[in-house]
């Protein structure tokens, strides 16, 4: 067994265990952390495939940004796990049956064959993955690239449309106005003539 094979099996084993923990962990924070581990080992596998740029992007974007936000949300929301798990045992047999069947089918069909394709050649050491990706992205794939940007724009519009509410009862504060405020804006000097308080009326009763 070559060293790369060893690394592959090592990372794959961690990836599988971590993925299993994502769906079995009782605590959602633990599940999210397991997902971080799964992403990290997946990034390692990509490194083995000479996809360095993608591996680093996975770490930076998914672990660094997406999962951190995700953890924030999980910690802030008060999720009632018992309610989520209520149907677990009743659905388990059917789920196991379907899942098991799928696994058996996939092993039978896909197996350990390599799709009949030739083994990919390793690139030279000075081959720049990032440069190649950039070249293809902005020439050959510029059309889907732009469309992906439109997709993100639509996601943004949809999110704002569905969640933004203009409430009438909020009192927004403008810091600039607060800084610029003068004494005259707040205090009004009133010239009051001194006057005697009225004498209490005499009660006849």
């Amino acid at each position: 067994m070559q060293f790369t094979d060893f690394v592959f099996y090592f990372l794959s084993a961690i990836l599988l265990l971590a993925s299993l923990r994502v769906i079995t962990a009782r605590n959602p924070v633990h599940a999210a952390l397991s997902l971080v581990l799964a992403f990290f080992t997946a990034a390692g596998l990509w490194l083995l495939l000479e996809a360095e740029f993608l591996a680093i992007t996975l770490v930076l974007v998914y672990i660094g940004a997406v999962m951190v936000l995700f953890l924030f949300v999980v910690m802030m929301l008060d999720i009632n796990l018992e309610e989520l798990r209520r149907g677990f045992w009743s659905y388990l047999p059917a789920g196991l049956l379907v899942g098991g069947l799928m696994v058996v089918e996939m092993i039978m069909v896909l197996g350990s064959r390599d799709f009949g394709l030739a083994e990919p050649l390793a690139h030279a050491a000075d081959y720049s993955n990032t440069k190649e990706l950039g070249r293809v992205l902005y020439t050959e794939y510029v059309y889907p690239f732009e469309l992906a940007a439109v997709l993100l724009l639509v996601a943004m519009i949809a999110a704002i449309t569905l969640t933004h509410r203009k409430r009438a009862d909020t009192r927004p504060i403008n810091p600039a106005d607060q800084v610029k405020v003068k004494r005259a804006d707040r205090i009004r000097m009133v010239n009051l003539k001194p006057q005697k308080p009225e004498a209490p009326k005499e009660d006849d009763a």
Binding site: R113, F115, Y143, P144, T161, L162
Partner: protein, 489 residues
Amino acid sequence: MNNPQLATLPDFTPALPEIFILIMACAILLLGVMFKDRDWAYPLTLFTLVAAAAITVLTSVPQVQITFSGQFVDDPMADVLKLMAYFATLTVAVYSRPYLIERGLFKVEFFVLVLFALLGMMVMISANHFLTLYIGLELLSLSLYALVALQRDSAQSTEAAMKYFVLGALASGFLLYGMSLLYGVTGTLELPAMALALQAGVADQPVLIFGLVFLIAGLGFKLGVAPFHMWVPDIYHGAPSAVTLFIGSAPKLAAFAFTIRLLVNGLHPEVANWQGMLAVMAVLSLAIGNLAAIMQTNIKRMLAYSTISHMGFLLLGIMSGTFAGYAAGMFYVIAYVLMSLGSFGLVVYLSRGGAEPGLEAENIDDFRGLNSRNPWLAAMMAILMFSMAGLPPFVGFYAKLAILQSLVGAGYVWLAVVAVMFSLIGAFYYLRVVKVLYFDAPKPNAPVYAAIPDVQALLSVNVLAVMLLGILPQPLFTLCTYAMQMTLQ
């Protein structure tokens, strides 16, 4: 710059309509943000659609143009379907205006999302690559999810949007998995290149078929055919009627183009493998769609089940695997979109309370005795129902006939017999609506509808088209045959 290809720009002319729609959608959004108190979105959307139609006609050439390094294809089929999609979107905008105003949904976002959905459809119609097919589909789906949830104070709409989103994501997963397996087998994502690779033969036939199964399951979800139809009635019922009108019309054109691009442009060498799967889905859809529609009391649900059966019919055309079948399928989908626009358009038009805003005309009961209240609307509804049932001389009849002819021509007589049988069963629930319109007494507190001139005029044009195309189907049929011929030459 050692690569000379880098120095040359791709040819933008074939993609001008897409570029125009994108620019206008962004412009409408910006104008809506900057000038909040003006209603520019509606007229600008109409202008955009008309101008895009003009651009499509002007840039259309009678040949297949491929640009953006094989990602984008512009051919006569794409042009015809795009023109139809503009018309459908324009009609949706006009029909839904009173409905949206009454419910406080007449906002910039509605029109912007509709335009983005249209862009997604156009990308799908013109896709020549798995990547563009998928991104177009997601662009359409994402806009539709948001549109369904637009009425966010309604629990029903929100639930429908949630269901649509989850099932749509699952279907996308199926599609992507199938695509990735096919990529593994053929080593390419470009549709014509994939057809060539398949023709040359692949080493791993089982994996190919395995991928094909996932691909077709995903396709079934998106088309809404049985056994992947569960979402259709719930979404059609739960969404605001104006959005149902949109979902039920224009995206069907894109779904047809998606199927043709995927199965015919890309996977035609595997026709023997996908034919059987399509036949099963088609027969199941015809059975479930027509039988379940009989039991519905809500007209939106009934029309949803009718959609399932119509999509089954459409699949029969594609399933025949012949040129005549594809042309008949194209005719069918255009005819169906016209009928669907009309019938959902009437549901939206009648969902007006007047004194009681927010009243929906959702149940078949709400249409009782429409003839005595408004004979013109009742007549239009009756014509649409007759056409959907496939009675001559309306367009639905000719569309069904063309599909049946192609089936018999390809030697699937038994499938044609099954299709006719289920159409007969289906005729029952369409005719029941006609009976309710004409022979039942109206509800005592039924609202009286004041005419809205522009909507009523367009509805009349729509129904007239259903009638005229039924009497004179030849021009449109010739157009569909010609477009298919150019595309599949």
